[in-house]
Amino acid sequence: MRSARISLTVTVTAAAITLLASSCAPGSSSDGGDTKQADDKKLTYLYFTDGPDEQATRDLIDEFEKKTGAKVNLQIVPFDNLEQRLQARLSGNNAPDVARLTDITPFRTDLLDLNKFQKGALNGKFLKGADSYITGKSGELLAVPSDLTMNGPLINVDQFKKAGVPLPDPKQPWTWDDMVKDAKKVQAANKTQNAIAMDVSGHRFSTMLSQYGTDFFDKTGKKPGLDTGKATAAVKRFAELNASGTMPKDLWLQAGTKYKAANEIFLAQQTPVYLSGNWQVSAFAKDAKFTWAAAPNPCQKTCGGFPGGKFMASFKQSKHQKLAAEFIAFMNSKASQEKLAKDANFLPTRKDLISSGVKYPKRDADMQTFLDDVKRTPQTAYASAYSPAFGATADASVKELAKVLAGDSSPKEAVEAIRAEAQKALKDAQ
């Protein structure tokens, strides 16, 4: 009798809680479009740092505060947590006023149209490749590309010299065949574990695809663009380099689905060529105990690298929309971008700054090598990099490449799977 009563109580309680939980759809649907604006001049800026950019950002914030009398609360979070935290804050109607993002796709419907407040200062001022990505369906300016990254090789100059191999000419890029041949010679002379290392990243592999003449998406960034023949050739070459030990196969297989940089292998002088990007320049200037340099991207069908970068955006939920837009405009003015580029070895995104050029106080030659590759990079690479479906497709490519390295699938099967994933990711992004 007693147990029956307990069972009944438990059942009724569980049913009540279930009813309560399922009585309404989860989440909130407020778009925050008519958020009540506050009078105080306080901003929150959600930020992740690459290292040397933090101080430059703080200096610029100080300048902005002096100029406007505003108070900016810089909230630094680990990059890995950025998206989750932002999603949680948006769900709690507690969005920051401004955020630094690498991918605006998950937040497109939450972003403020910056043209409402700063059209003159921001619209049309940035590199063309990102236009379709940062522009909303009705022509809104959803974000500003705040810095550009360019993938490219870094080489161990000491090891090249010891092997008697001439350094590649930044003005006349080498080919994939040249790069592999030279790297192998340097590997043999220095007895390093590998000749070339690439970060475990679909973004980095996209560089190779682009050089082989194809990209995940077409020139609009809205349709799959992978050419089966060209992509298969790239995957085949990649698999051969890993199978032969020219590249560290274990690095890709051990990473699982996580991003894994190969910078430690390069810093430990176990590879003379490291395929990464310009964001390593500041870090290596500090950490490398040997002479190194940026090298031009190798050419195959095309030359140049693969772009990436960060964006600054504000949110419809912001209670300081006007001030937030003003802050974004200030941080991305010609003078501010130039300071950030010089202090943190970033590449500029403003058209005027790209054409006038930046003279870097540290590692200028390396940065100019990356800037030369910016000019050589085809427009389709920008369209692919800024496609809303790029992130998901790049992640899928890492899984598929690992299958090829493990012998579980062929290069052609991997290409077909990546293409199918690109199609699905485009559908999901709509």
């Binding site: 569980a14 809680i17 279930t18 939980a21 399922s22 759809a25 989860p26 989440g27 909130s28 649907s29 998206e83 989750q84 999603q87 949680a88 948006l90 769900s91 991918d103 796709t105 998950p106 937040f107 419907t109 939450d110 574990q193 196969k249 274990d250 297989l253 051990q254 990473a255 699982g256 689905t257 996580k258 894994k260 992130g391 998901a392 992640d395 899984k399 690992a402 299958k403 493990a406 579980d408 990711a425 999901d428 992004a429």
Partner: protein, 321 residues
């Protein structure tokens, strides 16, 4: 046999609960306590139940609700009924994660149970440095699983790892512990065991210390060997404790994620991707699919719940037999 038959203890150990045995007397008088005394126990547990309900029960039930919706950002939800389940069941990645989870859980539970009982029996002996060994075995439990994953990752690394340096030095080759799916699964099971066994040893030790020593004295007087004492006294009386170990390690095995994520990232080629990682990737990696992740979490919950109930009922039947 005759000696042991005489000394075999009853199936249940421990003191008789007050009030037990009165049932069925037919004349039990119900004591009427004032309402405030009857209410007091509930008030004592109320704060805990409120927190538990708010942060565990409500989210768990709400998770079921979310599994019926599609959402890419956690704010906009579209009702899709059972299609998240349908899609999940048609995905090869789901079945792969489910298969790996079952393999991991079975090996983990079996090894944890056997090793924790074995080590607890050793640590229950009057040996020199017993406190030291108990501390050593318990130490991994207090280390962050993320750190555990990183440390073992360095140890098992093929080219520069500690283990392969030793094996290579001894001319035993350099196995690809983390680049071969089978070896990687063995590694994560081993690391899981290393990480958690100390906790289960404590539970078994508590169980061992609850066994009345008079049973052993009587058995020794009757000439029972050590093996007979273990088989006919210790293990039967440890059954309730063993059930706790099995259930807890089963739940633990099905929830394994953090140290595996840092150790192998679910690789190579998904060879160590378990259900929780499958859920994590759907919930927090691009493209975010909260509904699909919630559906997988519901399936995992049902599986663990069903296995726990089956295990409980099986042991209840054994107890009463």
């Amino acid at each position: 046999m005759t000696a042991m038959a005489r000394t075999a203890p009853p199936r249940t150990a421990g003191p008789t609960m007050p009030g037990s045995g009165r049932r069925g007397s037919g004349h039990r008088r119900r004591s009427v306590k004032p309402w405030n005394q009857r209410l007091a126990p509930y008030l004592f547990v109320l704060p805990n139940m409120l927190i538990f309900g708010l942060f565990v029960i409500y989210p768990a039930i709400n998770n079921f609700n979310i599994s019926l919706y599609d959402s890419g950002n956690g704010r906009d939800f579209t009702y899709v009924g059972g299609s998240n389940y349908q899609e999940m069941l048609s995905e090869s990645e789901f079945w792969s994660a489910a298969r790996h989870t079952v393999i991991f859980a079975v090996c983990f539970v079996t090894l944890t149970t056997v090793v924790s009982i074995g080590l607890a029996l050793l640590l229950n002996q009057k040996i020199k440095g017993r406190a030291f060994f108990r501390t050593v075995f318990f130490l991994p439990v207090v280390i962050s699983p993320v750190v555990v994953g990183l440390i073992w990752g360095w140890i098992f690394e093929r080219k520069n790892g500690l283990l392969n340096s030793l094996l290579g030095g001894a001319g035993l080759g350099q196995p690809g512990w983390l680049v071969n799916s089978t070896l990687a699964m063995a590694v994560v099971i081993f690391v899981g065991l290393w990480l958690h066994v100390g906790f289960y040893i404590l539970i078994v030790l508590a169980g061992l210390q609850g066994i009345d020593s008079t049973y052993y004295e009587a058995a020794r007087m009757d000439g029972a060997s050590g093996w007979q004492q273990l088989r006919l006294i210790t293990l039967p009386l440890l059954r309730p404790t063993t059930m706790v170990v099995v259930i807890l390690s089963l739940i633990n095995g099905f929830q394994a994620f953090d140290y595996i994520w840092t150790l192998t990232g679910g690789g190579p080629v998904g060879g160590t991707t378990l259900m929780v990682q499958y859920i994590y990737e759907h919930a927090f990696q691009s493209p975010v699919q909260y509904g699909a992740a919630a559906a997988a979490a519901v399936v995992l919950f049902c599986a663990v719940f069903a296995l726990t109930v089956i295990n409980y009922l099986y042991n209840q039947r054994k107890e009463s037999a």
